[in-house]
Symmetry: C2
Subunit: 489 residues, 2 copies
């Protein structure tokens, strides 16, 4: 054997103290950033200089860590999405918390791979599964799995339903030559349901979009009619996806009625509760999602209304064995042992497609445990109250009209203009560029509407009042044909 | 309107200074932990007390943050997988770095959602795409996407290939009634390829496992024969998956020959390079993966041989438009704008199934930029040298036999015993419980072998020598029928 090498050639710091000081400074700067979020614009357009900093040549040699921290500070942090800011109301973005950041730091240092093996990180994930089963009213035997987000969680739920319907051997033989499976969701369902049908090989044509009532909730009678018609055509219905909180307007399907319909027709009942499932945290709002406890599977995100740092999606499946049957496989390199590190019957890699999985459970555990469900629930309630406040402003204003009922935390409204589509888009762009607010756009009946999804725990009544004033000013300037030059505040 | 509320009711700290002190302490403790990894056992069996700490009742009320940090410290950190430890050699786990932890802390604080929109985080992800395209020799127009891990990256690559073959309309009509698509991979391919066939609706029967040569590399002649036979049966070959680094023994398929075969037969050429693709970082080892530059798509992980904290998988697709065609869709709530926060033509959500995506690019950018490809490449070379060193020990030892050629960083060996399966498993369990080393088990020709995947940048020659001595001692004690009581060192 060669003599043992002496020089350190690993990727640890040569000088731990120097690293420690740098890391402390980075931490302090990040805490400063979070503490002073309100003082900065919600968003500012990235400069060309900033973009160019990330068009560097391939780094054959290393560069000092302090330089990268500095580049982060000067060119990444100032040009972020702004979803931490109380005036951010676009899409459906969680706001994060300092608690979540602390947990992510610990997870980054621990560097657990939560695909399997016997270590405490998996117990933390199991704790979250049990907590959420209880919070949603699912049985204690339900299986749970962290994934990136609800899009993937919906896909996995759909795959379980697909394989459950097609039965033994489907994993081997695939779909070609089999029956045509049909799924049902509301016309307001998220696009990821359609995409999940594509990925699963069922095709988006196999998804029936059922009409909604005036509040955006699926019409169960229309579902029943369609089910019968499809059966008459020799097709094979297998799945109903109920939505708890539609992306456009925050509508909630009649989940209990859907559960009845699924039970009567032997269909898998999956719920896309990306943000709405967490209404379960609020005793006051929980009745809105009555029926959630009867789902076969529920997909939702912790990074939205629980403000866990991105990403932390989750799938709960009532019959854990169905999840396992869909994904588990025998592989020599995943052999289990009766003792030691390879101990354990069910590993997360038996319940989903990921073998390499970060420790999403830690930031979620820190969040749920530090705030408690009651406080998170109140934060959700407050978002809904803020949406009602904004809606009241709009109802009293001659320049705007509500485009959809406001039953939860999302407000869609439009300028009262001849060319609403163009004007609404211009108002939103104008608000973004001003740095004063960040709503987004969605289409209501094919026309662009201004959409405020109030998800941020930092958004107060005065933020809502300020936003409304800003929106009014932006509308006037857009209609007058001149956008405000508006320096970022 | 109601009077504006005064009390803070968000999820930020009431006392920022208190939070800052706690976060600093947590950071310091984590750095201490990393600095002193070697002084602790690689792994220790979780105590029942530790497990019970994560069977708490649902937290309706919050608990002090300091208490959770303390629980992490006492019950999670000590019972981790140990993949940071130089004696960890199980499965294929990256070891993490302090640099990665720092970046994860910043990402956790920034809380970017990298599904889309105009913010610098996406430029960082694009930077990684360009760097990796250059490192692998793919064209600059290649599209790239962070995902959790190679299992998902392989799935997405397979979906692109599937839709590319089935052409326009497949997203809508699905697979039922269509041709039977057939994919090809080596008999040593990772199980996630088969699982990707299942998920995609093609069925694992549609995957042909082609025999390998004595070094575990796919026999291209056998592939050609099978291709012809399948065509003769009226089936539709569409995809060849080459493996750069098989999970069991680290074999590499003849990628250039596979590229020729794919070109001649109009097949999509995907490479599962979970860890092996990063051999491209080493000028010395790069020739082993000649042909990588001709792939249509490459899946790999940064959390393995680049030691980015979990998880950080990646997919590169030569023809970016094919990736976009597979996943992009028109959705009102994802409307693009010519200016403002919704600016941008291609967002990551157009290239894959995730709309909610954490900022994996940041920890990867920090890692590649701080160390540089040369240093990461040397770290990979050293792992391969350490594997050769271990193999040399085993060749000179009467008690053990190598079970497979050692061409990369993985050493599979067996005790020279009558009941190898049982004895090898017992040796591995014994090493785990002793806390001295963490190899894993895989099956070679159906029999359990002791498997050391040397992936850790901290593993030195003396770690290898110590491991070998520990393995010899464990073997003697197992054969003698008594496991060492071995207190954790």
């Amino acid at each position: 054997m060669d003599p043992i090498e002496i020089e350190p050639s690993d990727l640890d710091p040569l000088d731990w103290n120097e690293f420690r000081l740098l890391a402390r400074r980075a931490l302090d700067d990040m805490i400063d950033h979070l503490e002073t979020l309100r003082e900065r614009p919600v968003w500012r357009p990235p400069t060309e200089e900033a973009r160019m900093r990330f068009r560097e040549a391939l780094p054959r040699s290393g560069r000092p860590l302090a330089e990268s921290v500095d580049l982060f500070d000067r060119f990444i942090k100032p040009y972020s999405t702004g979803n931490g800011h109380p005036a951010f109301m676009g899409w459906v973005h969680g706001a994060g918390t300092p608690v979540g950041m602390l947990a992510e730091m610990l997870a980054g240092g621990l560097n657990a791979n939560c695909g399997g093996r016997d270590h405490l990180a998996l117990e933390v994930e199991r704790q979250i599964t049990h907590w959420m089963s209880e919070a949603f009213g699912l049985p204690n035997e339900a299986a749970g799995l962290f994934v990136t987000g609800t899009s993937i969680a919906n896909l996995l739920g759909l795959l379980v339903a697909r394989n459950h319907r097609l039965g033994d051997g489907v994993r081997e033989r695939g779909l070609v030559g089999g029956p045509r499976l049909i799924a049902y969701a509301s016309a307001s369902a998220h696009g990821c349901i359609s995409q999940a049908m594509e990925i699963a090989g069922l095709g988006s044509d196999g998804l029936r979009l059922i009409p909604c009532d005036g509040r955006g909730a699926m019409l169960v009678d229309a579902l029943r009619t369609r089910l019968e018609a499809d059966r008459g055509l020799g097709l094979t219905p297998f799945l109903v996806v109920g939505t708890a909180g539609t992306v456009d307007i925050g509508a909630i399907d009649p989940l209990a009625e859907l559960a009845d319909c699924c039970a009567a027709n032997d269909l898998w009942f999956h719920i896309d509760g990306a943000f709405g499932a967490l209404l379960a945290f609020s005793p006051k709002l929980r009745p809105l999602i009555r029926g959630l406890e009867r789902a076969d599977s529920v997909a939702f995100d912790f990074h939205k209304w629980a403000h866990v740092p991105y990403d932390a999606g989750f799938l709960l499946v009532r019959d854990g064995s169905a999840l396992r049957r869909t994904f588990a496989s025998e592989r020599g390199y995943l052999s289990r042992a009766s003792t030691g590190l390879a101990k354990g019957e069910t590993w997360p890699c038996d319940l989903g497609p990921d073998l390499s999985r970060g420790f999403r459970a830690l930031k979620t555990w820190f969040t749920l445990r530090t705030f408690g469900l009651d406080r998170l629930g109140r934060s959700i309630e407050r978002n809904c109250e803020m949406a009602a406040r904004l809606a009241a402003h709009i109802r009293q204003c001659a320049d705007f009209t509500l485009c959809a009922p406001v039953s939860l935390n999302i407000v869609c409204f439009s300028a009262n203009s001849r060319d609403r589509d163009t004007v609404n888009r211009a108002i939103v762009e104008c608000l973004h560029v001003s740095g004063r607010a960040a709503p987004s756009i969605t289409l209501i009946d094919g026309v662009a509407a201004i959409r405020c999804a109030i998800v941020n725990h930092r958004t107060t009544a005065s933020d809502i009042d300020n936003f409304f004033a800003d929106a009014c000013a932006a509308a006037r300037e857009v209609v007058a044909g001149s956008r405000p030059a508006g320096p970022a505040r």
